[in-house]
């Protein structure tokens, strides 16, 4: 594979980027339009319980540009977004992007840990199930995987709380770290920060807070990855070149690890990437159950509080992130699998 200077790869990249532009514009229009049709009035929402006088209402309306024609409001919004200004939260009066950046590390830390658990358990389980096809291990693993895949994760979270927090008392019920620890965030990732401070008890506390939410969020990806790995592996194990490798007298372990696994993992990588959108959806539920101060909880709280600015910009930012990750996965896929590019 000629890396870097491959014309097909560049071509593919340009084509994908060209397709993305209209989608991004569409996403921004949607996020903008959703918020305009939400019931309620943003200025009244901003004013809170005290309300405003009609004169003050008009002034505020002008100040925030709500008196302008709708298309002009959209272009103004788009203009600010392109300059990195996502508006000011109605509830906290802080810039949306600042709030997002404060909360995002919590969601990333949770999502990465969930994905880590899903990958280190899911891939080996899938491989082993495929190699031992039809065995009790295969059947048990696939049974568990299908159950995980069917799991209402908000209930699963509650069950884990009942058992581990209520019955055994091993883990805390909510938050990212015990309130007795007061650390200034460095990276925003609690596990990393506590280590950077060298505060071992704080690290343990952060880990104990993280483990249940990560298990809950990782359950569905784990099930999907295990199932996908198994079926990809089964397909590859039936290929001629694997048979050739076996016929050459290579050890079964070498055939599986070197010959089969490499190709089987290609579709699995795509599957992992496609879980990102799902993880964001799952984060809303997981963060709500465990009162985890991340982006998912922030979004749902803002929807309930009718914080229009946050909902609008939050939707936009999240959709852009999901799109960027999907693009990266596609490119990675094209990079590993030359057949895609040339099409």
């Amino acid at each position: 594979m000629a890396k870097g200077k491959d014309p097909h790869m560049l071509n593919y990249l340009l084509r994908r980027l060209a397709l993305i532009v209209p989608t991004v514009i569409g996403i921004s229009i949607c996020a903008f339009a959703f918020v305009r049709v939400l019931p309620g009035d943003p200025i009244l929402a901003m004013a809170g319980q005290h309300g405003v006088t009609p004169e003050r209402y008009e002034i505020l309306k002008e100040q925030f540009g709500y008196n302008l024609p709708i298309w002009q409001q959209y272009f103004d919004y788009l203009g600010s977004v392109l300059q990195g200004d996502f508006g000011i939260s109605l509830a906290t009066k802080r810039p949306v992007i600042t709030e997002f950046l404060t909360l995002f590390p919590a969601t990333i830390e949770l999502a990465l840990t969930a994905m880590f658990l899903a990958v280190i358990i899911g891939i080996p389980a899938g491989i082993f199930a495929a190699v031992k096809r039809g065995s009790w291990f295969d059947q048990a693993t696939m049974g568990v995987a299908l159950t995980g895949y069917s799991m209402p994760i908000f209930w699963w979270g509650l069950l884990l709380i009942i058992f581990f927090s209520g019955y055994l008392g091993w883990t805390p019920v909510s938050g990212r770290i015990a309130l007795t620890f007061f650390l200034r965030p460095i990276t925003g990732f609690m596990l990393v920060d506590t280590l950077l401070y060298g505060n071992w008890p704080a690290f343990v506390s952060a880990l104990r807070h993280l483990i249940l939410p990560a298990i809950v969020l990782g359950t569905i990806p784990l099930a999907v990855i295990a199932r996908q790995t198994r079926s990809a592996m089964l397909e590859v194990l039936g290929e001629d070149y694997v048979r050739t490798a076996r016929a050459k007298g290579l050890s079964p372990r070498r055939v599986v690890n070197i010959h089969a696994l490499r190709n089987a993992l290609i579709p699995v990588i795509t599957t992992i990437g496609l879980q990102v959108g799902l993880l964001m959806g799952g984060a809303i539920l997981t963060e709500t159950i465990f009162t985890w101060p991340g982006v998912g909880k922030w979004m749902i709280d803002s929807i309930f509080k009718r914080d229009y600015v946050v909902v609008q910009s939050g939707l936009l930012i999240i959709a852009l992130i999901v799109m960027a990750v999907n693009l990266a996965v596609d490119l990675l896929y094209a990079f590993i699998n030359p057949r895609i590019r040339v099409q």
Partner: protein, 300 residues
């Protein structure tokens, strides 16, 4: 002679096609178990008022938060115990099956209808029709589905019906994409050209000639969407945006029981278990359907 030349479609030879389908489906033990459980759930939903020992809404104020009968302090009248306002859990769970199956069924019908039409149009006409439809689908798919459904429900107003509309909207792009790909694959096959040459109209070509040959993947996707719809509706109910209390919808039951999780675990355990069993049964059926309908896996 045109449309009768359709090859290998399961629809063209109903009797033997169905038998062949059942042969492959019944090989999968899990699928048969799933189908049995699902059939029982459907019966339970239909005959809920006859099976349930009590009305799902009657509050027995003398029996608040009674545990299931195998635990100490239980009330023999209530097999699975009572909820915080003294309603019989079992009766509420039985009635809840009606909501979940109803949601799954109608959401899939809605998503299927819209998605199939859009997908057929995009795959058949290509060009700007295709570009326009698929870009809109891309936009919908760029939002995490639960988040999009939440915002849509916030716009439409919380409630079961609006939640169903929102879920159908977020699920239909999957049908559109799938159908488009299937139509594009079939469109240039010889039987379609033959039908075109013998003067079949666009509508006839799309719906009668091509679509029946794309049914396999559509059915599998419909099963998947059925379970997703149930899960998403329960999640919306759980977040307070779906069915509203006192509706005995399983997700809503979980939401109202949340504060009692440590004091009365059964009010949380059973509704979730009901969701899990239902979704698992449907996914087992889905796996069986995929094996039975996917010709690649059928190497006898």
């Amino acid at each position: 002679m045109a449309p009768s030349t359709e090859p290998v479609a399961t629809a063209s030879k109903p009797a033997s096609g169905l038998r062949e389908f059942w042969y492959y489906f019944s090989v999968n033990r899990g699928a048969v178990i799933g189908l049995t459980v699902f059939a029982l759930l459907v019966l339970m939903a239909i005959f809920a008022p006859l099976i349930a020992p009590y009305s799902p809404d009657i509050q027995y104020r003398d029996a608040l938060l009674k545990p299931p009968i195998w635990e100490a302090g239980s009330d023999p009248r209530f097999i699975l115990g009572t909820d915080p306002v003294g309603r019989d859990m079992l009766s509420r769970l039985i009635h809840g099956a009606r909501y979940s199956l109803f949601i799954g069924f109608f959401v899939v019908i809605g998503a299927l209808f819209v998605g199939v039409i859009l997908g057929v149009l995009a795959g058949y006409f290509r060009g700007w029709v295709d570009v326009a439809i698929m870009r809109v689908m891309d936009i919908i798919l760029a939002f995490p589905s639960l988040l999009l459904a939440l915002v849509l429900v916030a716009i439409l107003g919380p409630g079961l019906f609006n939640a169903m509309i929102a879920i159908a909207i977020v699920l239909q792009p999957h049908f559109a994409r799938l159908v488009r790909a299937a139509v594009m694959a079939e469109k240039n096959r010889e039987y379609v050209t033959a039908a075109k040459l013998s003067g079949a109209s666009h509508i006839r070509l799309m719906l009668i000639t091509i679509l029946p040959n794309c049914l396999g993947p559509i059915i599998v996707q419909a099963t998947l969407s059925f379970s997703n719809a149930i899960l998403d509706a329960a999640a919306l109910g759980f977040l307070g945006m779906g069915a509203q209390p006192p509706t005995p919808e399983w997700g809503t039951m979980l939401a109202t029981a949340r504060e009692f999780i440590l004091k009365a675990p059964w009010v949380v355990t059973f509704p979730g278990l009901a969701i899990l069993i239902t979704v698992l049964a449907i996914n087992l059926i889905g796996d069986g359907l995929r094996d039975a309908l996917d010709p690649k896996l059928k190497r006898s």
